[in-house]
Every structure is written in structure tokens, then in C-alpha cells.
């Protein structure tokens, strides 16, 4: 059970955005996609969710996603977009409740009353039920959408089959406390048996929370593997065209990096 993507290419108009990308993610793990702006991270996520037409093969839980109805897919996975604006004045609770109606319903009526409140509490928005979505800040909107997505796939494993969260830059609009909170939600979802695929910009958070990383550049996969494998000076320099230094503190062995090093290197005229 997992997500497999073989030799997938994608064109928008005449421009080729993805070049023969291979990508795998396993249930029970947080898999992050990183890379510079415009490298095709979000496009890859849109291919993986079936939003954009692609060439190649993508299978979720062993089934080709092209052959599955939107309903069946929606029962297996939920997708958090980068930003969502609403045309009408829904309350926060009403937005989260929309998530209940997604896919083949698996909840009891009692669950349907309780789940939205639980999900809002989970993303730190308890008490926001009666607020209007359009009045919220960008970060709050993003967390309301996360609650809506969580409600759609509340149980990480359904009938023995893992469910999936696809998150497009889930923390880019958030302050540091909520960044950690949201990443912890993703990690817990994976620990409980579900699969998480996230497009990320913050490499430190990626290093902290991911089990597996795919590094992309120019629509191609540069390197995939564990954080220690991928977050190394050479592949990062190649992908981002920027001289960063990856470090490992002795306490726990997860790698970290200091962007200031790049500035120092440029200031001293060090070639990148």
C-alpha cells in the first residue's frame, strides 16, 4: 500500500513542467517534496492527486488513479490547496462541515456533529466556529481548510486501507508555533498508519518532520531518500543554485542548516 508514480511527465500548454519524474511515498510516513520556486513541486502534487492530466503511471494504494471515480478517490485521500477563497459568507463551522460530505460517507450522524468541532480543536481553532471565514487571517483560513481536510479523512486507516493527506505548502502562511502544530498533525496522521505527502519550502521543518524527501529542480527529481540522504550540501547547492551548509547537532542526529552561511559565502566572494 503506497503511492507510486513512474516516469510521469506533464505539459501545461507547450511547456513541459515535469520530466519523467519517479516518486514514491509509503503509508505510515511523511514524505516531503522540496525544491526551488517553479521547479514543479505543486505541479507534481497536482498530478499525484489527479487534478492535472499527465503522461505516465500513478497508483494510489495499488490502483491507477485515472481509473477511479472522484468519489472513491475522495474517500481515500484529501487535498489541502495553497490558499482557498470563498465566494459566499460561510461560517468557519459551515466550511469544515463541507468536508463531511466528501467521498463515500463513512461517518455516523453522531460523528457528523462532533467531528468538525474536534477537527477545529485539533488545528487550534476551537471557539472560531461562529466566525466568518472571510474575516480570518491567511494563516487562520489555512488552518480552517486543514480542519476541513482532516474531517474528510478523519480515520488514517479505513477498513485496513491507509488514507492519504496531500498538503500543498501547509505551513507557509503560519507562525512558528502553528507551523510546529500543523507538522505534528501530519506526523501523527502518518504514525497512525496514514500517508502524508507535503510540498514544503522550509527545509528545517522538512528535516524535523519528514521520513522521506524528494528534492526537485527544473521539473526533474534530483534526489530522493531519508532527510540525511537528501539534505546534503551538494544536492541542495545543485537544486537551489545557492550555497547552503547543512549541519548536524550532536544531540539528535537530524540535519539542519543555516541560511546565513550562504550570505556569508556570497559576501566573501566564495563561488557558489
Amino acid at each position: 500500500m503506497g503511492l507510486v508514480c513512474n516516469k510521469t511527465s506533464l505539459f501545461l500548454g507547450r511547456a513541459q513542467i515535469l520530466h519523467d519524474v519517479d516518486f514514491v511515498a509509503a503509508a505510515g510516513e511523511v514524505t516531503c517534496i522540496v525544491g526551488p520556486n517553479g521547479c514543479g513541486k505543486t505541479t507534481l502534487l497536482k498530478a499525484l492527486t489527479g487534478e492535472l492530466a499527465y503522461k505516465g503511471h500513478i497508483a494510489l494504494n495499488g490502483a491507477n488513479i485515472r481509473r477511479q471515480s472522484p468519489q472513491v478517490l475522495a474517500t481515500q485521500r484529501a487535498v489541502l490547496p495553497q490558499a482557498t477563497n470563498l465566494a459566499f459568507p460561510f461560517t468557519v463551522l459551515e466550511v469544515v462541515r463541507i468536508g463531511l460530505t466528501a467521498g463515500l460517507s463513512t461517518n455516523t450522524p453522531g460523528d457528523n456533529e462532533r467531528l468538525p468541532l474536534d477537527a477545529l480543536a485539533r488545528v487550534g481553532l476551537a471557539g472560531f466556529e461562529g466566525r466568518f471565514y472571510q474575516e480570518l487571517s491567511g494563516g487562520e483560513k489555512q488552518r480552517v481548510q486543514l480542519a476541513r481536510v482532516l474531517v474528510q479523512t478523519w480515520e488514517p486507516v479505513l477498513n485496513g486501507i491507509p488514507r492519504w493527506l496531500f498538503l500543498d505548502e501547509p505551513v507557509s502562511a503560519l507562525d512558528i508555533a502553528h507551523q510546529l502544530q500543523v507538522m505534528a498533525i501530519a506526523r501523527d496522521f502518518a504514525r497512525a498508519g496514514g500517508g502524508v505527502v507535503a510540498v514544503m519550502h522550509d527545509l528545517n521543518l522538512t528535516a524535523m518532520f519528514s521520513d522521506r524527501i524528494t528534492l526537485m529542480a527544473n521539473g526533474r527529481e534530483v534526489r530522493s531518500g531519508t532527510p540525511k540522504d537528501v539534505l546534503r550540501n551538494e544536492p541542495l547547492r545543485h537544486a537551489y543554485n545557492c550555497d547552503v551548509r547543512v549541519n548536524t547537532p550532536p544531540a539528535d542526529a537530524s540535519p539542519w542548516l543555516i541560511p546565513q552561511a550562504a550570505r556569508a559565502a556570497q559576501a566573501t566572494g566564495n563561488p557558489s
Binding site: K46, T49, G50, E51, S69, P70, Q71, V72, L73, A74, T75, R77, A78, V79, P81, T84, N85, L86, A87, F88, P89, F90, T91, V92, L93, E94, V95, I98, G99, T101, A102, G103, L104, E113, L117, E129, G130, R131, F132, Q134, E135, R148, Q152
Partner: protein, 362 residues
């Protein structure tokens, strides 16, 4: 459109904040009562003010004995007119609500984006040119010719509009509104060409028809329009879940398991049919489709589960009241109802625009 500070706050009662489903039920109950009252008003109010309404209603059942004149006025004039007004009002309001959900814009309306103009073109063409059809076809189509022509006129306009405004799976609201204006002008011009060839009798018919009126309603017209309107009223509540998901965007709706393209096709087909049938019977009656859903969103929130059914109720009430006004403002003559809805709806539409000037982003 945000401007949420104007919108009634979700009440802080015992149940969960932000849950406005109870309010939907309260509004629905109130509107049901109002609808019954409006129907009685519509039956009781008219040029012949001395009509014995209750006895006339009961006469065919053998429970009372009213004069033949009164019985005819009630059963052959006011009753079909009342039902036509109620169903056309419901049809226009629900079509407006569905269109607004579909285009994710509170200003979308079958009238505003040229669909009514397309339906009008079909109807005018059928009225003027219908006599040119082979007798065999006329025999088959008969009374259904005008509603059918209006249906296809509205339908084709909607599909062209949708195709023009949709690119790469995304529907541009600005393009849609502008293309709606262009298509409205085009169908208006085509209608003009046909009107040019109309006889004097047809011209008078067309003029009054274009202003919109339920005055010409009779049982035959009512029964021909009814199936398409009822189809829309039955289908619409089943679209509620999809329209709610669509409020988050087309991609999000797909991810939530909505077969978006199929749902769009169904919505467009039923709306075009319903608007086409309504326009065929009563002519162009504007603004009901914008005003009704907007008022309801203010009162009970935008959740389509409550919005669509309540729109049908409020649309029926509003059209019946407008028709009662049309009958009495310049009695014993009648004012076309389209003039009443435009006089009331035009300023309301402007008020929505002004209030949301900062947030309506086309």
C-alpha cells in the same frame, strides 16, 4: 463578497456557534406561511373586486354555488395565473441560486448573463416563424413549440457562454459576464431581425411579452411550462452538496469526490430548461434570480442545502406579491410585472454592488 459585518450573526444559543441550520428551518416555516397567504392574496385580488372568492373556489366541488362569472374568474383566470406566478417565481429564484453557486459569484443571474435573452430569442422566433413550419411538425409540437424554442435558445446560449468563459477547466467570471453582455446583444439583434418581419398583431404580443407578465397565463400555457420547471425544482436540492463543495473551487470540489463536469452539465441543463420554460410563459422577468438568493444568504447563510428550497419559496412569494401590485397599481389596467420587478430589483442590485464595492473582485 465578504462584507460580513452586515450579515446576521449566527446566534449564540444552546447549540454550536456558526451552525445556522435551525435558522434555515425557521425561515422555511415563515416562508411557507407567507406563500399560502400570497396564494390567497393572488386569488382574491383582481380587477373584478366583487368576486365571491371562497364560494367560487368551492363551486366545482359542489360545496357552494357561486355565479358562473365568479367561478370562471377564479378557476380559469386567477388560478392558473396564481400557479404560473408561483412556479415561475420559484424557477427564476432557484435558477439564480444555482447559477450563482456554479459561477461562484453572487451576481450571476440567468437574466444578467444573456441566458434569458437567448430563451427570449427562441420564443420570439417560435411566435413569429412558427407558422412557417410544416403542418406535420406543428401538429406534433403544438403548444410546446414556444417553450421548446425558449428552452433551446436558453440552453445554447448557456453552453456557448460556458465554453467561452472556461479555459483549462477554469471558468473566468469576468469573461463570463462580458461574454454574457455580448451574447445578449447578439441575440437581441437577432430577435430584432425577426421582430422586423412580425405582423402588427404579433408585434403587440411581443412587446407586452418582452416586458414580462403573468396576465396571459392560462391552463394550457401553465401545463406546458410545468414539467421543465418542476424538473429543475426537483433536481436543484440534489445539487446542494456539489454547489457547497464548488464554493471552495473546482479543484477542491473534485478532490472532495464531486464529478464536477457532470454536475455542471446537469445544473446548466436544468437551469436552461427551467428559465426557458419560464420565459416562454411570462416573458422576461428580471432580478428575481439575484434578489431572492441574496436576501436569503443574508438571513440564513449561503449553505445550499437550505438556500435552494427556501429560494423556491421566497421566489414564489415575491412574484405573487409583485403580480398583485401589477394588478392594482394602475387598476383596472395592469402593469407588466417585469416593470415592477425591475423598478424594485434594479436599485437593490445597485445597492448590493455599492455595498460590496471593495470586495467584489471580478
Amino acid at each position: 463578497m465578504a462584507a460580513a459585518e452586515h450579515i446576521a450573526r449566527p446566534s449564540a444559543s444552546s447549540h454550536v456557534q456558526g451552525d445556522r441550520r435551525r435558522r434555515v428551518l425557521a425561515v422555511r416555516t415563515g416562508l411557507s406561511v407567507a406563500l399560502v397567504l400570497a396564494m390567497l392574496l393572488s386569488l382574491g385580488w383582481g380587477a373584478a373586486s366583487d368576486t365571491q372568492v371562497i364560494p367560487a373556489l368551492l363551486t366545482p366541488l359542489g360545496l357552494a354555488e357561486a355565479s358562473l362569472r365568479d367561478t370562471v374568474i377564479i378557476w380559469d383566470i386567477r388560478f392558473p395565473r396564481m400557479l404560473t406566478g408561483a412556479f415561475v417565481g420559484a424557477s427564476l429564484a432557484v435558477s439564480g441560486a444555482v447559477m450563482q453557486g456554479l459561477f461562484r459569484n453572487p451576481l450571476a443571474d440567468p437574466g444578467l448573463i444573456g441566458v434569458s435573452a437567448g430563451a427570449g430569442f427562441g420564443a420570439v422566433a417560435a411566435i413569429v416563424l412558427g407558422g412557417l413550419l410544416p403542418v406535420a411538425i406543428q401538429a406534433v409540437v403544438g403548444y410546446y413549440l414556444v417553450p421548446l424554442a425558449a428552452f433551446f435558445g436558453g440552453w445554447i446560449t448557456t453552453i456557448v457562454l460556458y465554453a467561452v468563459a472556461t479555459r483549462g477547466g477554469r471558468t473566468s467570471i469576468a469573461t463570463m459576464l462580458l461574454a454574457g453582455i455580448a451574447l445578449g446583444a447578439l441575440t437581441g439583434a437577432l430577435t430584432g431581425i425577426i421582430v422586423y418581419y412580425a405582423t402588427d398583431d404579433q408585434l403587440r404580443d411581443l412587446t407586452f411579452w418582452g416586458l414580462g407578465s403573468v396576465a396571459g397565463a392560462n391552463w394550457d400555457k401553465f401545463w406546458t411550462a410545468l414539467p421543465l420547471i418542476v424538473a429543475c425544482l426537483i433536481v436543484a436540492p440534489f445539487l446542494a452538496r456539489s454547489l457547497n463543495a464548488l464554493a471552495l473551487g473546482e479543484a477542491a470540489a473534485t478532490h472532495m469526490g464531486i464529478p464536477v463536469q457532470r454536475m455542471k452539465n446537469i445544473a446548466i441543463l436544468t437551469v436552461a430548461g427551467s428559465v426557458g420554460a419560464s420565459v416562454a410563459v411570462t416573458g422576461g422577468i428580471g432580478f428575481v434570480g439575484i434578489v431572492v438568493p441574496h436576501l436569503l444568504r443574508l438571513a440564513q447563510g449561503p449553505d445550499h442545502n437550505g438556500l435552494l428550497i427556501n429560494s423556491a419559496l421566497l421566489g414564489a412569494v415575491m412574484l405573487l406579491v409583485a403580480d398583485a401590485m401589477a394588478r392594482t397599481v394602475i387598476a383596472p389596467a395592469e402593469m407588466p410585472i417585469g416593470i415592477i420587478t425591475a423598478i424594485l430589483g434594479g436599485p437593490f442590485f445597485l445597492w448590493i454592488l455599492l455595498r460590496n464595492r471593495n470586495v467584489v473582485d471580478l
